[in-house]
Subunit: 188 residues, 2 copies
Amino acid sequence: MKRRTAPALDRDRLIAASFAVLEAEGMEGLSMRRVAAHLGVQAPAIYWHVGDKAELLGLMARDIYAAAYAAVPQIEDWRGWLRRFAQALRSSLAGHRDGARLCAVAKPAAASDPHESAARITAPLIALGLTPQTALSFQAAVISYTLGWAMFEANGPMHDFLDRMMIFEDSFETGLDAMVAGFEPQAA
Amino acid sequence: MKRRTAPALDRDRLIAASFAVLEAEGMEGLSMRRVAAHLGVQAPAIYWHVGDKAELLGLMARDIYAAAYAAVPQIEDWRGWLRRFAQALRSSLAGHRDGARLCAVAKPAAASDPHESAARITAPLIALGLTPQTALSFQAAVISYTLGWAMFEANGPMHDFLDRMMIFEDSFETGLDAMVAGFEPQAA
DNA sequence: ACCTGAACACCGTTCAAGT
DNA sequence: ACCTGAACACCGTTCAAGT
């Protein structure tokens, strides 16, 4: 017997609880105290498992990105992969209340080892024949576009109006297709 | 004589002070109390001139966008206009500390009259021959891309690493050119 | 009309102390 | 090792009261 009582918290349960609070209260209701309450614990307990709130947000954002990567199907060429990835990221962001705002505020947890995370991020594109340089460039552009779009789309009051002037889905695809198609001549 | 003492505040001085605090303290140091202190006034005084903090942030964001629109030179076609606008927006965002984060958090002050603001936003493109529909679509895509990129770029730790793997300036242009070029066939 | 003073209900975080 | 209790230095916002 290593311990008499199992610990009440671990990183995974902490992150899960944080998402639960986010879903229920939104981004500005996401406080350390509320997350703690959701876990039946005092706020300072969280600091045993995580350095500070910024790190917690970083971990949440990381999960959102990870879900997107995991959702991209096997695909035969980099154009298709980029398109599928962008769609997956968009729906991963839309899958959580204030998901885009969360990712905007959070610094990437990737900060721990940027070299490794850049490699992981570009690996699929490199496998499909792009050079590391172009892979990074294209991927950065697609992520930027998708994240920016998600924020645009999540912006309440403007949304209702734009909804009557354009189909978000279609316009997102329009921009995405344009970008990917425009990459074509640069892939050499 | 309408009043014995001129008011200490007005909206413009309030916004200017807010930018000053933002520059000095960054986004998380931007508190109502600090802005008030910068103006030699008590925090509650601000609420006479502005409904709440969100509205103040919205006004700041609006200024950043307005600066971008103002900086776009007269141009002969919509491709050029879109490219110039994106560059102007990127440098307007980069012109203030945490500019991208600010715009991410702020709801558009445009919320007041979305119809009018959408019209103003698309006017230049419509004047250059696009339909309102495509103008809105293209403009939304370009804004999303640029805002997303600026956030990407502003993200400290990742930045230093990426800086050694790619030129931000060049990669931004790569994606932008790709998108605008890809719009071409859709402009019909 | 425009601002102050005092207060309310919160925050994130630290740190000794408990087990 | 892991959590609590109490505290510190802040927040945004409201509201009576002053001028």
